[in-house]
Amino acid sequence: MALLEVRDLEVAFNTADGVVQAVRGLSFDVERGSTLAIVGESGSGKSVATQTIAGLTRGARVSGTARFDGIDLIGADPEVLRRVRGAQIGMIFQDPLSSLHPYYTVGWQIVEMIRAHRKVTKAVAQQRAAELLSIVGIPRAEQRIHDYPHQFSGGMRQRVMIAMAMALDPALLIADEPTTALDVTVQAQVLDVMRSLQERFGTAIILITHDLGVVAEMADEVVVMYAGAVMERAPRRTLFYRNHHPYTEGLLASLPSQGGTGQRLTPIPGSPPSLISLPAGCPFAPRCRYAFDRCWSVAPPLDMVHDDPAHRSACWLADDAQGRRDNQARNAAEAAAAGSSDRTPTPAGVGP
């Protein structure tokens, strides 16, 4: 049994504009001690999905299950959830400055976390807080527990967050874009800290990111999300070298090649669909250069591809490069035809 088994998770928000379907039928497993990366452009539902699992989403309609260590967290009693949060599921977030309370010392904040779950004295908890800060590589930890978050640099703050999230040796760490707000040089250090803690404590990690570089370094398994749903799911190597879904291909094309400074990126043209009125068919079809008739009418299921049980893709395309090229050529030709027919030719040199 996997540590976390998420099945058919749906999360919807009622808003003034309509129902926002932020997560649509999400399923994945996280094995003990392994790292699952969830990637996707901003707005694809990564944060909502993971926060819902931890019971942090408020005012949403939620269905599906998320069995953590055998207990379904969706719709669990608030007290049950409270005991799981922090103690068994630690969380870190994108912006460590806004995620730490500005009015309390970092030591106080870590002590609070420990004492919410363990019956220990303040002195013992404080000792432990200092220990944790030194484990994550903060120098002079004994003194620094008395400092406030604004007295730390961005990278050090994220280390504080990691120390706090790991304080009770949780079985799962949810890291929501932990390096996005940090300088490039600091990003690698923070990832190193996470990885060494994972080795030391055997923690499983859900790593949310839109940076495939981070995925390449950290992940065992990858889930690619788009418009609230899984587009492709595969082990890391498979995803990088034998990916199937055009959205994954697009994400990889927008990744700067290793060490290649000045390398031009190819972002995916267009933007994600509105989650309020999703069209029938594949949500990625409007941006997909290989799309054909069927893509527009029926949403593809997340099915096994390449005869690999670990590899699933929600795409109608066959895995045949020639077929894709044909589709692409046909789509390009159609677009060109449509483009020239509704544009009236203007004589050159006649300006307004």
Binding site: Q51, M91, D95, S99, P102, Y103, H150, Q151
Partner: protein, 319 residues
Amino acid sequence: MVRFLIRRVALGFLVLWLITVAVFGLFFVAPNNVARTLAGRQATPETVAAISHRLGLDQPLWKQYLDFVGNALHGDLGYDYYHQVPVTTILGSALPITLSLVFGAAFLWLGLGVFNGVISATHPRSFTDRSLTALSLFFYSTPTFLLGILLLYVLYFRLTLAGHTAFPAGGYAPFGGGLGPWAQHLVLPWFTLALVSAATYTRLTRASMLDVLGEDYVRTARSKGIGERRVVLRHGLRAALTPIVTQFGIDVGSLLGGVVVTETVFSLPGLGKTAIDAINQQDLPVIIGIVLFAAAAVVVANILVDLAYAVLDPRVRLH
């Protein structure tokens, strides 16, 4: 921090000085016939002149002003025109009344406002929230004098007619005469003053809490598995307090100069009522004394608010 304080105190003195100039100037622009009033209807011009001389009113304005400032710096605010009582004595007997009124009411409105505001913010758009909002708006738009008279009518007049005298019609019982009578005389004025302000504090707390509860660090607090109560109070309210404290300091500071309407409705001889009497009699030294005290209260309150920022927010303190 210390340099900042020195600057603020110096600025405070500058404000007070400007206020003395303004009050002096304004008062002497209007024709002044204190001496004539005091001398009585049948007085000869000589008597009037003598009185003018005794009060120092025959001196040139700049001389009167310099004398005043010189004395004020020694803590002497002069004598009132009519009974030759030191102004400081007059202030000294009115001040405890205003202090009792303002601090009692402030305690009430802060408690009521913050409590209701937190309830509203933690149950946004619920029935409770809407009811509290409606109630706030009701008290907010009720003029103080009307609320005071209403309370008097129901809780003094009707109750006394029904044979239960729970509250006096007005007046003040000094603190020294026992806590019971003191509070009994002040309960209605306290509520009159507090209900109007509590509305403001309810709205302010609600808005501030709603902001803070959406902050990332509140999400972090929840992710740590601490109880919801603690999340709301230790993490939410603690951070939401800053604008509330600011408003509180400014409100208390400006009320200390006298709560004219409430003091008048309940016949409390505090600073507000004393000021009104002094203005009616053109009793310049008393007016200046009260205006100066009121201004000083506002200045001090503002400095205290700035200090409170530093106490509340380490980002300010450690800068």
